[in-house]
């Protein structure tokens, strides 16, 4: 097991290097640059800007300088559009916010999704099943960009209970709507996967055997069915967790949370090369890390899997 983890971490390094180089090249291939604006800059001003940000160097040198700064100094450089701030500052300010509401939303989505899915499977074709499936489908057709404005209309405008946006770490009032809006459709997907997987497991041979032994249903579900039924859910949760904690454009845009989600899209549109690279690397590292975590959990859940 330890060998497996070491090997995986070892392979992660070239993966991330390839990711950096590819993103870097793709980004520079996109037409326009960070200083393209409605007002074409006089060539002398553009030259000064490019010199300041090192864009006057040949591309391969730019990549090398970038890699050196990232690897040796953990320095992601200055932002091209937010000129008073560095990428490190932007990430260290935005990431904790998305991490907070993303993790809460994740826990909420997993707990409610799995419960709904399990209930629906156990009471298959009953009223409870239809209700659960109904909720799931309802939640699925309400993606966050529809949920967010609906929530704001109800809880901010009509009821006046919650602020329409903003962020305070210690005030749940600001956290509720981002969490619910973000979690809903993930919850629906989790419930759907859980339900179908649970249905399959409940019909498996080993469950029939436990029933034949006369074990109580609750015991069967908790000790024999749930674990194998969660395998497909688990493989869905790895990437989902990463995408939830690295933020959502919609959530950050609607609720003015100051989170990281908005930066990704804005950086791409503004050709803010350094911010885009910073977020890409962060998301890349987290993705690799959590797919490793999922693999380890797999081995723990499924005795057939051994590394």
């Amino acid at each position: 097991m330890l060998n497996f983890i070491i090997k995986r971490l070892f392979f992660a390094v070239p993966t991330i290097l390839v990711l950096i180089v590819f993103s870097f090249l793709l980004m520079h291939m996109a037409p326009g640059g960070p200083f393209t604006s409605e007002r074409a800059l006089p060539p002398e001003i553009l030259a000064n800007l490019e010199a300041k940000y090192g864009l006057d160097q040949p591309l391969h040198r730019q990549i090398l300088i970038y890699l050196k700064n990232v690897v040796l100094h953990f320095d992601f450089g200055p932002s091209f559009s937010y000129k008073d701030r560095t990428v490190n500052e932007i990430l260290s300010q935005g990431f904790p916010i998305t991490l907070t509401y993303g993790s809460i939303a994740f826990v909420f989505a997993v707990l409610s999704g799995v419960s709904l899915g399990v209930l629906a499977a156990i009471y298959h074709n009953s009223l409870l099943d239809y209700l659960a499936v109904g909720i799931t489908i309802g939640a699925q057709v309400l993606p966050n960009f529809v949920m967010a404005p609906i929530l704001v209309l109800i809880f901010t405008l009509f009821l006046g209970w919650l602020p329409g946006g903003g962020w305070e770490y210690d005030d749940p009032k600001y956290i509720i709507m981002p969490v619910v809006a973000l979690a809903t459709s993930f919850m629906a997907s989790i419930a759907r996967i859980t339900r179908s997987s649970m249905l399959e497991v409940m019909n498996a041979n080993h469950i029939r055997t436990t029933r034949a032994k006369g074990l109580p249903t609750r015991y069967i579900i908790l000790h024999h069915a749930l674990k194998p039924a969660l395998l497909p859910v688990l493989s869905y949760l790895g990437p989902t967790f990463v995408s939830m904690i690295t933020g959502s454009v919609v959530i950050d845009m609607f609720f003015s949370t100051g989170g990281m989600g908005l930066h990704f899209v804005n950086a791409a549109l503004n050709r803010d090369y350094s911010v885009m690279m910073g977020i890409t690397i962060l998301v890349g590292v987290l993705t690799i890390l959590f797919s490793l975590v999922v693999d380890i959990l797999y081995a723990w859940i499924d005795p057939k899997i051994r590394y």
Partner: protein, 537 residues
């Protein structure tokens, strides 16, 4: 001054003030006890550094935190700012500004040296400001040479005669020079603070300004808070204690939060003005705003052959039904446009453009005739591509125009939608046939528009080049009343039609009924928190 010190001082001052405010009246109305103004800001602030900031939206922050030589009043008229006034030499090339006794927010005196430092900083290649061109536009002596690195920044035509006298030398007479000092990029900054903190000097706590407010809190992507600066020279007459900008990207979400009472001012989403005006007649406003929306025709090297024929360009322009665009699509009181400069620009007399006076029917008939003359018709239909950048409104207008052109002229128009950077790059490289564009004035004078079409302008992407036009614009710089030249220039544009004018902007906003002092009559929309106040409802 560090942030720990600053906050109690600012709070203390506002507390003291709110006591004195209780009985205070303003123009016969009782002032509200709590003087906090909250407004919606579309995008996050790119920079708080006056010489680095390029965004027009958010420029009000610069005007609150810093103060330039001159300010604007509620009508947009030029009034003294950090300077009490200026004198102009007989050759009209040397401006001498006299500075008033004022202090920076750390207690140091504001001197002419601070202006010298800031102005040199703007053009210094080391600063690499995107707005360095503004000083070139002002024509300050040696500005271009400094930017190019040919001479050192200390060769720039600015000088501190003494602590209270700031002298500027310009290359050519420029009647509106003083009004250009209202722009944020000319605001002073304190050298010692900038050098001590580097790029971090704009962080709350580090920043030292000479404006009526100090930056007390900045949460990226969420909000910017500024509070009264007790050391500001006119603090006594400043009423609003605190101004909060909430960053809300989405127009509709901003409106919802306005209706929920979270912000006092927001922009109205496209198409919703008539409804909101009906529902909230005292809160919905539409007023002129200095921007002009056009479709460029590429008559340059890379442009299509068809557009090189002026008859084709005229036909296309005539056939656009501007009334439908302003009254049915935009619905925010926008002006139909037949010229370039915004018709409400100060001192600008809208010239008589013949096709502006025709009915749409007459324009269509003329358009059909012109296009036929140029050799296009049912057997030989004109095919063109129209580029626009991603936006619901641009799309609606583009679809509208494609219908006008198709129905009236049989033009086969392909609509090409690109994201912003690609759209702009194509436009600037001349890789387009017809392309959407909008220009917003830098200052309240028609040349901010008309200079664009000179053959030597870096913004003229149409390929239009006229010696007569260039001559008119150069001459206008030294004229006492340049309007006659502007009218002639506009007439030349209507005759050559390097672009089709479409509409001129209005600002459409919601304003809380207890807010006073909003400069609805200022075309540039340069507002200052210290000119606002809230009354008891």
């Amino acid at each position: 001054m560090n942030s720990k010190l600053l906050l109690p001082i600012a709070l203390g001052a506002s507390l003291m003030f709110s006591i004195s405010v209780e009985a205070k009246m303003m123009n016969g109305e009782k002032l509200a006890k709590e003087q906090v103004f909250t407004y919606r800001l579309l995008d996050d602030i790119k920079s708080f550094d006056p010489q680095i900031n390029t965004a027009v939206q958010g420029a009000e922050l610069m005007r609150d935190l810093f103060e330039g030589l001159m300010n604007e009043d509620i009508k947009g008229k030029l009034i003294p700012g950090a300077a009490t006034g200026f004198t102009l030499s007989d050759d009209k090339l040397t401006y001498t500004f006299t500075l008033r006794d004022a202090k920076w927010s750390n207690g140091e005196a504001v001197t002419a040296k601070d202006f010298v430092y800031a102005w040199r900083r703007l053009v210094d290649p080391k600063t690499a400001s995107e707005y360095a061109w503004y000083m070139e536009l002002m024509g300050v002596k040696n500005a271009s040479k400094v930017v190019k690195g040919e001479v050192t920044p200390d060769q720039l035509g600015v000088r501190a005669v003494d602590d209270k006298t700031f002298e500027v030398t310009i290359d050519n007479a420029l009647p509106y020079f003083a009004s250009m000092t209202v722009h944020g990029s000319t605001f002073p900054v304190l050298q010692s603070v900038v050098e001590k903190h580097g790029t971090d000097w704009t962080k709350p706590g580090n920043m030292v300004g000479n404006g009526a407010y100090v930056l007390t809190d900045y949460r990226p992507g969420e909000k910017v808070v500024r509070e009264r600066n007790p050391l500001y020279w006119d603090n006594e007459n400043t009423i609003v204690d605190k101004t909060v900008a909430l960053i809300i990207n989405d127009d509709n979400q901003a409106l919802t939060r306005y209706l929920a009472g979270e912000v006092d001012k927001t922009e109205i989403p496209a198409g919703q003005y008539p409804r909101l005006l009906k529902q909230y007649p005292k809160q919905a406003y539409s007023y002129p705003r200095s921007c002009s929306y056009i479709y460029w025709f590429n008559i340059g090297e890379k442009g299509p052959k068809s557009l090189k024929d002026v008859r084709v360009r005229k036909a296309l322009s005539y056939a656009i039904n501007r009334e439908i665009i302003t009254d049915r699509i935009l619905q925010g009181g926008q002006y139909q446009s037949f010229n370039f400069a915004h018709q409400k620009t100060a001192g600008f007399q809208l010239p008589k453009i013949d096709y502006a006076g025709w009915t749409q029917k007459e324009r269509d008939a003329k358009a059909v005739a012109l296009l036929a003359e140029a050799g296009y018709g049912p057997d030989n239909p004109l095919s063109l591509t129209l580029n626009y950048n991603t936006s619901e409104t641009h799309k609606k207008i583009a679809i509208g125009v494609s219908q006008f052109w198709k129905k009236t002229l049989g033009v086969k128009l392909t609509l090409a939608n690109n994201e912003w950077k690609i759209h702009t790059t194509k436009q600037q490289n001349g890789d387009y046939e017809v392309s959407r564009y909008a220009w917003c004035g830098d200052y309240n004078e028609a040349s901010t528009y008309l200079d664009l079409l000179t053959s030597y302008s870096g913004h003229n992407v149409s390929g239009y080049s006229s010696k007569e036009y260039d001559r008119l614009m150069v001459e206008s710089k030294t004229m006492k009343n340049p309007n006659a030249n502007y009218a002639k220039a506009e007439a030349l544009l209507a005759e050559a039609m390097p672009f089709a004018p479409i509409y001129q902007y209005t600002g459409v906003i919601m304003l809380k009924t207890n807010l006073r002092g909003w400069p609805v009559d200022n075309l540039m929309q340069n507002w200052y928190s210290r000119a606002l106040y809230l009354v008891e409802e």
